[in-house]
Assembly symmetry: C2
Homo-oligomer: 184 residues x 2
């Protein structure tokens, strides 16, 4: 009976979650979910598609959470060069080839594809390939996709979509520079 | 010269940040900021105004981050009873009396007032008292206020406001129950 309950799709359903919009908090909320999952002894894999955002405090904290949290940061050894779309596509593919088997393995109940929306929007990754993988992921796996301009087909497929909307931004309106511990 | 740079308001400005809206990620993004700040060796104080949300994975992880992260959860020993507004006001006041000196002390570069928007919206706390404290906080302190229906005066005062907007929600539309590691 217990087994039946566990396999009941109404009880356990790996969600595809999208954080999009022009506001703050898309990645930060995903990292908060990583924290929550790790606290529940659920393994988390984070792939950071964008370069150089990992000088942040998160990196240090996630390092301390290993092995519950594993991450791969594209800033290390990968380069993006939007003047060279072919190279960008190769960079994106390399990143995808790292994370796709992590999603499909079922070993990580939570997988974060940080800034993948950006990568999809710029067509650096094949949308169908990504969507197929999300459709065929193990039932138990939650995947969180972050970034501006999530493609409509991803929003359509997703279970949970939140738009982070910028209502007021100090760095634009008040010319206050980015603050350590908040922005990085 | 160094001292002047440090006191230059363009260099260092404690932000008042609001996460509001009907979508997910308001508290989660605040907790992600806590993670980032702690990783930058900035002390964080979290006051959770709402009851009983601290069976979550965050609690375990934040416990491991002590003393960089300190938290006070109103679920422990405090009770909310919306049939008894007077008692609710007392509960809110007790919580506020804990966190107000933490904000004003300057000992915590990051203070999270989780679900305070809800409490202000229901008038369980005096709005002027809270806004005055935010106006008079030490220059170096960032305060993050989360919850639905942030009062207009708080939005007006805040430096950074993000609305988390629900675009799609599985538990409402697809009758999927809340998922461990995601919802709690």
């Amino acid at each position: 009976m217990k087994k039946r309950a566990a396999s009941d799709p109404r009880k356990r359903k790996g969600l595809t979650i999208v954080h999009t919009g022009d506001g703050k908090g898309k990645s930060t909320a995903a990292f908060g979910l990583a924290l929550r999952a790790a606290g529940n002894k659920m393994k988390v894999f984070i792939l950071q598609f964008m370069k150089g955002q990992w000088k942040a405090g998160e990196r240090k904290m996630f390092s301390q959470m290993e092995p519950m949290v594993e991450f791969e940061a594209m800033g290390d050894g990968f380069t993006w060069d939007t003047n060279n779309p072919e190279q960008d596509r190769q960079t994106a593919s390399k990143a995808w080839e790292i994370v796709k088997p992590k999603i499909l393995s079922g070993d990580y109940p939570v997988v974060i594809l940080d800034e993948i929306n950006y990568v999809l929007n710029y067509r650096f990754l094949d949308e169908d390939e990504v969507l197929d993988t999300l459709r065929n992921k193990p039932e138990s796996v939650h995947v969180i996709c972050t970034g501006r301009n999530a493609p409509p087909a991803l929003i359509e497929l997703a279970d949970l979509v939140t738009e982070m909307k910028c209502v007021k931004h100090p760095f634009k309106e008040q010319k206050i520079p980015a603050q350590k511990g908040i922005e990085f």
